[in-house]
């Protein structure tokens, strides 16, 4: 077991696949520098820099996957998917359906995502709900280095297209790249346990959630950075006698409905904490699967509601922060919402007590 920062874990999973399988290649903008390690180890034919033509190179990756390669394609930020969506929507996602499973395209699309470092509304979106809305795609959003390794390993082994999103607050390199720029004059609310941790090198099955904390009163369903916010909120809530279960979805699609239902059945209260846009996305879907199952629950969600504002205090208020989560959970309990002040300095999220996850037991450490 090795301690790694988030992107080390991702790169390690890719490197191991590249060693095992000559067909695995990496391509995208700036990958020779951004993945300097892989480039140094596998050379420029397998770590292929591309022009700023995301539409064409993602489309080409679909073709390459159809013709026998297993590409890991990088688009710098999920926000930029707008210029390349067609390759996902009408090609990668539909090939298996169109051919009744006779032709598949094993492809991993790796993108950074997420806000919290003051970069404006075109560089901090989550958009996993939008992508998960496309039948035929898998979409994963790890919250720890261990899961990052495990999900990338499963993504690389999967025969269909997988979207792999890494949050910029979790990845040292991205955050330094677009957030700090080497400055020490700014602080970021980086979840420590998400940023660096032990890596067990176990694959994480696509579509398997992990229980990060057990509790009886409210189920917090979350993913990515928000998992850590949810854990911090759960800690605060515990001190006021509210016991929260925290479920880390890890995969958006396929959604681990069974784990959600199992937890909600016990708690009867469901709070979705989702950094993506609130409307028409993941939070609604979670509500729907619970309602379809006929489980009566009290439901609320803490999400991003609108275009993310640039100013950091406005951004912070717009994202699912600990205060908003605590307030929403209290409301769900029927308790009058109390003002809970949040520490202004860099919050280092303490991992919740390690708990048996539903499918893949993992401790956050």
């Amino acid at each position: 077991m090795k301690r790694m920062v988030f992107e080390e874990a991702v790169d390690a999973a890719i490197a191991e696949a590249m060693v095992r399988d000559e067909r695995v290649i990496v391509l995208g903008l700036d990958v020779p520098m951004m993945r300097a390690g892989l480039h140094a180890r596998f050379g420029p034919d397998r770590v292929l820099g591309a022009p700023i033509s995301e539409g064409a190179y993602l489309g080409a990756a679909v073709g390459a996957a159809m013709a026998g390669l297993r590409p890991v394609v990088e688009i710098m930020m999920v926000d930029f998917i707008g210029v390349a969506l067609d390759a996902l929507l009408n090609h990668a996602a539909k090939l298996s359906g169109f051919t009744h499973g006779r032709w598949t395209n094993p492809l991993v699309l790796r993108m950074s995502c997420g806000a919290g470092y003051g970069d404006g509304g075109q560089h901090g979106q989550a958009l996993w709900g939008m992508l998960a809305g496309i039948p035929g795609l898998s979409v994963v959003v790890p919250s720890t280095p261990d899961d990052a390794y495990g999900l990338m390993t499963s993504a690389l082994a999967h025969d269909g297209p997988v979207v792999f999103l890494e949050h910029k607050l979790l990845t040292k390199n991205w955050l330094e790249f677009v957030g700090s720029g080497g400055r020490t004059t700014l602080s970021f609310d980086v979840p420590k346990a998400g940023h660096e941790g032990d890596v067990t090198k176990q694959p994480v099955r696509l579509g398997s959630a992990a229980r990060r904390r057990t509790g009886d009163d409210v189920t917090l369903v979350s993913l990515g950075v928000s998992v850590h916010r949810a854990l911090a909120a759960a800690e605060q809530l515990a001190s006021s006698g509210i016991s929260c279960e925290v479920l880390d979805l890890r995969s958006v699609r396929p959604l681990d409905t069974a784990s959600i239902l199992a937890s909600v059945q016990r708690t009867g209260r469901l709070l979705v904490v989702d950094e993506d846009y609130r409307d028409f996305g993941l939070s609604g879907e979670v509500s729907a699967v619970v309602a379809e199952a006929g489980l009566p629950v009290r439901f609320a969600r803490v999400c991003t509601e609108d275009t993310i504002p640039f100013a950091r205090h406005l951004e912070d208020a717009a994202l699912p922060n600990v205060t908003r989560i605590v307030t929403a959970a209290q409301r769900l309990m029927g308790a009058p919402a109390q003002a809970i002040t949040r520490p202004l300095q860099l919050t280092e999220v303490a991992p919740g007590p390690a708990s048996a996850a539903n499918h893949q037991p993992r401790a956050l450490s």
Binding site: R23, I25, D45, L48, A50, P51, S53, G55, A56, Y57, L58, G59, A60, A61, V62, G63, A64, A65, M66, A67, G68, L69, D86, A87, N90, H91, K94, L95, G97, F98, T99, H100, R102, W103
Partner: protein, 336 residues
Amino acid sequence: MATVDVETLYRSMRRIHAFEEAVRELWDEGSISGEVHLCHGEEALAAGVMAHHREGDAISCDHRPHGQFVARGVDLRAVLAELMGLESGLCAGRGGHMHLFSKQHLIATTGIVGAPAPLAAGFALALKRLQPGAIAFAFSGDGAANQGLFFETLNLASVWKLPLLIVCKDNGWAVTTYSRTVTAGDHVERARAFGFEAESVDGMDPLGVSEVAGRLVAHVRAGKGPAFLHARCTRLDGHFLGDQMVRTVRDPKANPDAGRTVVENLTARRGGRWTDRVRGLFRTGQAMLRLRGGLGKKNDPMRRPFALSDEARRRIDAEVEAEISAAVDAVSQEAA
């Protein structure tokens, strides 16, 4: 570079043509749903280019894919069955006319205009690594050549030096739009500006196409980088079967609603200035005339002279006829 004999080319064209005739009948009788874009007018082009296809090469097609599928030797019954939505279809009836795929033959189709180019670039990337010497073909239209994906692929294929031949089937039209009115510059010049080896050819002349395609394929196969073949052709059935504009041009009375709408609007009391209305009318008329001009028999590559004996021609025609009928019969029986 292999030279291709007339008989081979003629047979290939004839097969494509006869297949499309069969599809037309099935479509007319309602056995095929949705849009169907025939490639009548592209027979020579498809035959001439595909003559240089080798086992192991890959192909991407646009919404007008039949010519390539027939020439590639994909089981015609499976293709027909797919068009008819049968379980025995190439894709078990899930794909349809614009989504024909055969993994075994490395041939794929997309209904998104412009998308064949990046797809084939990806094929080329894979082949370059996995099967040196094999190349990828992308077939798409003059309309598609204004799509961002297309231009991006010109650049990408050039800097990655991909073994890719892009074939631009220039029939002068994109649905109801006369392409010249929305296309700046010249297709070949544009491709050359990206470092492509590029040539233009009369796409109705099978030997001419074959010769130039052969040269470009040899260039690509030799690893010298991508190439671009611009082939002028026609669209003898209009954009798709049942094309409204073609029906109107052929018989203005067939579509009285359209005429009425135009006249009512043209003469509406409130609207644009009269000069604007007249300019609009003039452009519409011009498009209609251009369209009618393109439908003429002189644009039919099947009517070009072939250096073949009557006897050889008859023999090939009969063989092809038998092949296609057998396929249609088999599939029709199954459908019933």
